[in-house]
Amino acid sequence: MKKCFLLFALSLIGCQPKAVTPATPTSEVKEISESMVRVNSTLQSWNIAQPWEKNPARQRRSLAAIVEQNQVITTAEMVADATLIEVESTDGAKRARATVACVDYEANLALLKIDDAKESADFFLGKTPLAMANNPALGDTVDVIQVEENGHSLFTSGQIRSADVRSTFLPGQSFLTFRVKASMQSSASSYSLPVLHAGKLAGILSSYDSKDQISDVIATPLISRFLMESQKPQYQGFPNLGVNIQSTDDPHFRKYLHLSEEVGGIFVSKVRKGSAADEAKVLPRDVILAIDDFPIDRRGYYQDPLYGRLPWMQLVRGNRSAGEVISLTIWREGKELSLPVTLSRQEEDSRLVPNYQFGKAPRFLIKGGMIFQEITRPLLEAFGDEWESRAPLSYLHVLSEPELYEKDHDRMICLSGVIPTQATVGYEGLRHMIVSKVNGKSVRNMRELIQALKQAPLGQRSHRIEFMDESIAIYLDDAVSDQIDAQLLQRGLQQLHRAD
């Protein structure tokens, strides 16, 4: 079978200009579709404005490759906020409910499995897992696989034009991506598609620009590493260095830093507290000249043996596991020094303002009609496309300067709005205020807020709530708000708080 496969791939390369394959023997086409499943997922995100409710559900369909251990690999976009994931054989004959075995929203990759052992064995019976391809080089040809509704497979060959470190899903989360030039047709279940190289899995197509006929393909090394990491007892994700950098191509700046013309180097403008770089005592104003003997140029690129000029991040993210040690060559105050850095990863949930919250219901508390929420990036993004200028300034400040708040807070709690009730008479206009203290004590997170507002302080009828940036304390009658809360539940609110 394997030989057959190779042959097929060869013939495909041979007839590259007409990529679609009516002439290809059906047996071989059947072969590849035996390594594919359709993934149908129903996604339902939370309504940030009314965090006790969910938004209308959406559907996504994709084609995904079967890999070892009866697992299916697809993009994280396919499972983000999924309420139901189904896998379906390409001929539609078999169907099973799948669960997420491992997901990395940052790298945009997910592994699916079928929980029930027997069901899983049944579903994957006769299917052939795809092996991982060796890393293709620039200029190599890869095949994008599509399967039409009738089960007919479509192969579209294309060349890897370039490789870059880009985001395929979440803004600011960049990983190695191939740009493949191929002219594809639109077809069913195309949210993401497997990409093969010499008959083996070489990538996942995450987007296609029909105008330029360019596809973004999650690259082979990243998928290989994800599969490797997913085998570990605890999935750790891809590590970060934890620095902000600036280029050093400005000649005056270089002279000011006493950088010689022979070296490149990137200027460390910020070291995130508790990050790998911070632990290794990398300092702001250091210049990183090289990472693991790869010289970094003035704009932050290094020469990758396989993929040409790539941004320095590739030497840390996607190419390395947490716990590994890399070596930084640093230029500090006119001297060169070498710093070993043990790579680590900051859990997204440990951030003051998490960038994403997939699979986690937003935390909130309703007390007497006052709605309290945690400031997260999804909350900010709920202010619309222009959220960076429309969101409240105090929230944006927390996002841009988390260090100023992190000491006393796990999350920032805000009063996001007020439902007009008997308890909130006179407070109707209050919104978008960050809570600083409740009954005299600062609150670290939603759990503490819920606890603090459970009962009025001894000898008091009301809770006292204070806010940052505003010297105003407001009072909430405990007994009245309890009554209101009971009414709100009767009026159809599913729940009044959520802290997990």
């Binding site: 400005d250 200027f267 403008s269 200028s389 009828r461 009301s462 009072y475 009658d477």
Partner: protein
């Protein structure tokens, strides 16, 4: 308060008529009165804050004014703002009389003009300004020179609403406003609104998204302006300098142990250096102003009318005392604040008749933050927007006379490799904290230059570095290429 206002009117009217009018004028007919409504033609020059070294845009407009005393023509400030040449025409006459602005009050959108030669106007009747705010539903006439024709126009309507509203000319001020349902169109601005041949307001603004809403400046605001300028100078409105929160919530009232159900507002902010600084504290409950009880929504009752408590201050002047009743730590007390203007509040008012201030150094353009710049540059940077909004309430003006911003980098071979970091606050220059534009200028151009000019921007952890040795040549190129005759302007006037 009303009584107080009447007093003002009485003294003012006395002053105007007794001192300035040689003989009493018999009551003129309506047709005759119209002759005292003049057309004002203004040529303006408006600076462009994006290119502050340029002369700006030359333009012009038409407005209305009316004679309120010997060589005193009242109109709107926005009719004559940024004006360079003013011509006044009498109804039905082709002659244009050169005029000048005697007083201009941007915060209440009023201005007083005079002509070089008053003799052609001497025979014209003089409008008397009414004494009270017109009643709801009473009829009014608006006279002026609006678009849609060359000659004088008269429209009629009724008083629809009396309210405290923003005055859009400065963008930062709110005063009493009377809404009428007569059309007020461009060109009407500055024209008299009459009731029984006496002026009850000056037409000044409309509403674009609604029909039949015209706004007029009512007599209390006009009278205040006329009284303010009597000492030869316009001093601006005074302000309590506090922010309040209504005390309507029962739990809040109970927690603050407030006995009376409907009295009092909570003080949530006291502007540093403002009228109430040191007199009123945050957390105080204000219960009375000049002996008028303040209700829980911040309103006071005067002769049957509910008005905003700030209306008391609206009719006072710098140096006047205002008596405040308040509850602090459970005890009632009475304090007196001496009213004053709050110059830093100009941060939020559009500036007119000013030359934009700026410094250019090696193509880097530095400008002080103000509303003109804010409106031009549409800043995205959170630090800039926060400093702008907190500048007065948090008293940041005490620390920063100016918030200096790097607004642009005019491309030159010396600066072309700098990262594009426009719209950021300048934190330090050569290691010294920047607190005003003039100081920034001195720091940029020191007597003895170090090797590098080093500029740190707020929120950017990478300094901008330029070698001082090459800056003079760069300045020369920038001056020539961008036609910047003066590399800095540190004075607004």
């Amino acid at each position: 308060m009303h009584r107080f206002f009447l007093l003002v009117v009485a003294t003012l009217a006395g002053a105007l008529h007794a001192a300035d009018l040689p003989q009493p004028v018999p009551a003129p007919s309506a047709q005759e009165m119209y002759r005292s409504v003049v057309r004002i033609e203004v040529a303006t020059q408006t600076p462009n804050y994006a290119t502050p070294w340029n002369a700006g845009r030359f333009s012009g407009g038409i407005g209305t004014g009316f004679l309120i005393g010997p060589n005193q023509f009242l109109t709107n400030a926005h009719v004559v703002s940024n004006g360079q040449r003013f011509l006044i025409t009498i109804y039905g006459s082709p002659e244009k009389h050169p005029a000048k602005v005697e007083y201009i009050a941007h915060d209440c959108d009023l201005a007083l003009l005079s002509v070089e030669d008053f003799s052609p106007f001497e025979k014209l009747p003089i409008f008397s300004i009414g004494q009270a705010v017109p009643a709801l539903e009473s009829q009014v006439r608006v006279i002026g020179y609006p678009i849609g024709g060359e000659r004088l126009s008269v429209t009629r309507g009724v008083v629809s609403r009396i309210d405290f509203q923003p005055y859009s000319h400065s963008r930062a001020d709110s005063h009493l406003v009377v809404q009428i349902d007569a059309a007020i169109n461009p060109g009407n601005s500055g024209g008299p609104v009459l009731q029984n041949d006496s002026v009850i307001g000056v037409a000044f603004q409309g509403l674009t998204e609604a029909d039949n809403t015209g706004y007029i400046i009512p007599t209390p605001v006009i009278q205040r302006f006329l009284k303010d300028i009597r000492d030869g100078r316009y001093d601006h409105y005074v302000d309590l300098g506090i922010a309040e929160f209504p005390l309507i919530n029962p739990a809040m009232r109970a927690a603050l142990s407030l006995p009376n159900k409907n009295i009092g507002v909570l003080v949530t902010n006291v502007t540093p250096t403002g009228s109430c600084d040191g007199v009123v504290k945050e957390g105080d409950v204000l219960i009375a102003i000049d002996d008028h009880p303040i209700d829980a929504a911040g309103a006071i009752l005067i002769e049957g009318e509910k008005v905003n408590m700030h209306e008391v201050v609206e009719r006072k002047f710098a140096g006047d005392p205002v008596k405040l009743g308040l509850i602090r730590e459970g005890k009632e007390r009475e304090v007196t604040a001496t009213l004053k203007t709050l110059p830093p509040a100009k941060m939020y008012a559009i500036r007119y008749e000013e030359k934009p201030r700026y410094v250019v150094c090696a193509g880097l353009l530095f400008q002080p933050l103000d509303t003109n710049l804010f409106a031009t540059a549409s800043f995205r940077d959170v630090n800039v927007r926060r400093l702008y909004s907190d500048y007065v309430s948090k008293g940041l003006f005490q620390e920063f006379e100016d918030v200096v911003i790097l607004t642009d980098i005019l491309a030159d071979e010396l600066n072309s490799t700098l990262p594009s970091l426009k719209g950021k606050i300048v934190k330090t220059i050569n290691g010294t904290k920047v607190t005003s534009l003039a100081q920034a200028h001195d720091l940029l151009y020191p007597e003895k230059s170090p090797e590098y000019l080093v500029i740190e921007l707020l929120g950017v952890e990478r300094p901008l570095v330029l070698p001082y040795a090459e800056i003079p040549a760069a300045n020369e190129r920038v001056s020539k290429n961008y036609q910047i005759k003066r590399l800095s302007n540190l004075k607004a006037q």
